[in-house]
Amino acid sequence: MSAAAPIAALGRATLGMLAAVGRIALFAGAVVSHIFRPPFYPRELLTALIQIGWLSLPVVGLTAIFTGGALALQIYAGGARFSAEAVVPSIVAIGMTRELGPVLGGLMVAARVASSIAAEIGTMKVTEQIDALVTLSTNPLKYLAVPRVLAATLAVPILVAVGDSIGIAGGWLVGVNRLDFNSATYIKNTIDFLEVWDVGSGLVKGAAFGFIVALMGCYHGMNSGRGAQGVGRATKSAVVAASVLILAANYLLTEVFFTS
């Protein structure tokens, strides 16, 4: 092996990654362009909305309530160091709506939805169902990917809004029952200090994360290798890619929204 071998391997890996980024970007562009062009598949969209939105409510709600509660305890303990316990309601609200609601909601949806989309579409690929769609004059991208991506982009902001509310309620529950806050004061402080953009920015993040989750599920499913192993690998890649991209996009969006 020559001395240049590690460099060559690094170069190959970099090129491979750039090629994958390019393919995903092209795939994303194709999906977006097909959203606005007929034929439309309303039934598939409805099914996807139920699968991605409605059925994710329990997991997003549970995540939010525990996170809101823990957040209240932490901020109370931290605030006590400089006698600022009163900030608990507003910081819980801001923390939930700006960061934790969308990010944790997005990650939970990634675990639940990116995996199931990738496994479903991957199985369709290896059992020739995607080929069958083509022979039945149906574009698989349009029939499978577009409804799922659109549904996730629409549903995740709603999930985030629900998660925000439940998370704040979790903070309130802990605040009132464990930290001796007055219930009315807690609620008043939450509302008074919360701005529209705190919530709005979180919802925009939610839409971006929903798009990422469904896109990764569809992309990896459609490019699944052969056999059960191929589907397994596609599912894993979809969840990992969706999670990492969510965190990266979260940083970028925060940078864009809150530094001026």
């Binding site: 169902q129 069958a132 039945l136």
Partner: protein, 248 residues
């Protein structure tokens, strides 16, 4: 008429098709035979554009298939996949009526269902299976649903990838008759892959044998038994000894 010339296809180092030349006349029934793994399924997929050949040309009625308008081109075809490839999220009748429920050939739902049930009847399945999911059917039943889907809109060219494997002899007979009927009565062009010699004799006008990525022999079914080609003779008589090695 379907005409292939010099079609090659490799998957990595695995050279599957090594120059296929084949002519399938319109309104005739061509049966492809050949050992397992010789690329019969890949050949059909190349014609449909599901697999892109590395080299060679495929003409449909003298028009290059790669230049044809994709939707119009595919609307002329029906395909039964080797593994049936039914959509497991849809009911059996929705699978059969897939083309009739969306796109250019869309019909009212009740009418589409009626057509689906009629096609199911033709492949020997009663109306009670219409509202089941594919996963609730046996392998042979799934195969027949796939067949019903392939013929649902009476396409002019139909590909059958092993239509009778997994069926009992009586049902296989029903399917053979159906394929024959589709060609003679509805004037369709059929290409069928099969390992079942009874089927070959029942379905075929012409037979082509694929071996080592090439068409080893082709001719009318009447010459199948009399051809001196040792490969064909070994294959149709299922002999272990002969020019075709058992280890492939």
């Amino acid at each position: 008429m379907i005409e292939l010339s010099g079609v090659t296809k490799s998957f990595g180092p695995n050279q599957v098709l090594r120059g296929i030349d084949l002519r399938v006349e319109s309104n005739s029934s061509m049966v492809i035979i050949g050992g397992s793994g010789t690329g019969k399924s890949v050949l059909l997929k190349c014609i449909l554009g599901l697999v892109h050949p590395d080299k060679g040309q495929i003409l449909l009625n003298d028009e290059d298939v790669t230049r044809a308008e994709r939707d119009a081109f595919l609307a002329r075809f029906g395909m039964l996949f080797q593994g049936a490839a039914l959509f497991d999220s849809l009911h059996v009748w929705e699978n059969v009526a897939f083309r009739l429920l969306r796109g250019a050939q869309k019909r009212p739902k009740a009418e589409a269902r009626e057509i689906a049930i009629e096609k199911l009847r033709r492949v020997g399945l009663g109306p009670q299976v219409a509202d089941l999911y594919p996963a609730e059917l046996s392998g042979g039943m799934q195969k027949r649903v796939g067949l019903a889907r392939a013929i649902a809109v009476d396409p002019e060219i139909i590909f059958f990838d092993e239509p009778t494997t997994g069926l009992d002899p009586i049902m296989a007979g029903v399917i053979n008759d159906l394929i024959r009927e589709i060609v003679t009565e509805m004037g369709a062009t059929a290409m069928t892959i099969t390992h079942d010699m009874t089927s070959v004799r029942a379905i075929a006008d012409n037979v082509a044998m694929l071996h080592r990525g090439k068409i080893r022999w082709t001719g009318p079914v009447s010459e199948l038994d009399t051809t001196p080609d040792p490969y064909v003779q070994q294959f149709i008589h299922g002999r272990a000894e002969g020019p075709i090695e058992a280890l492939r």
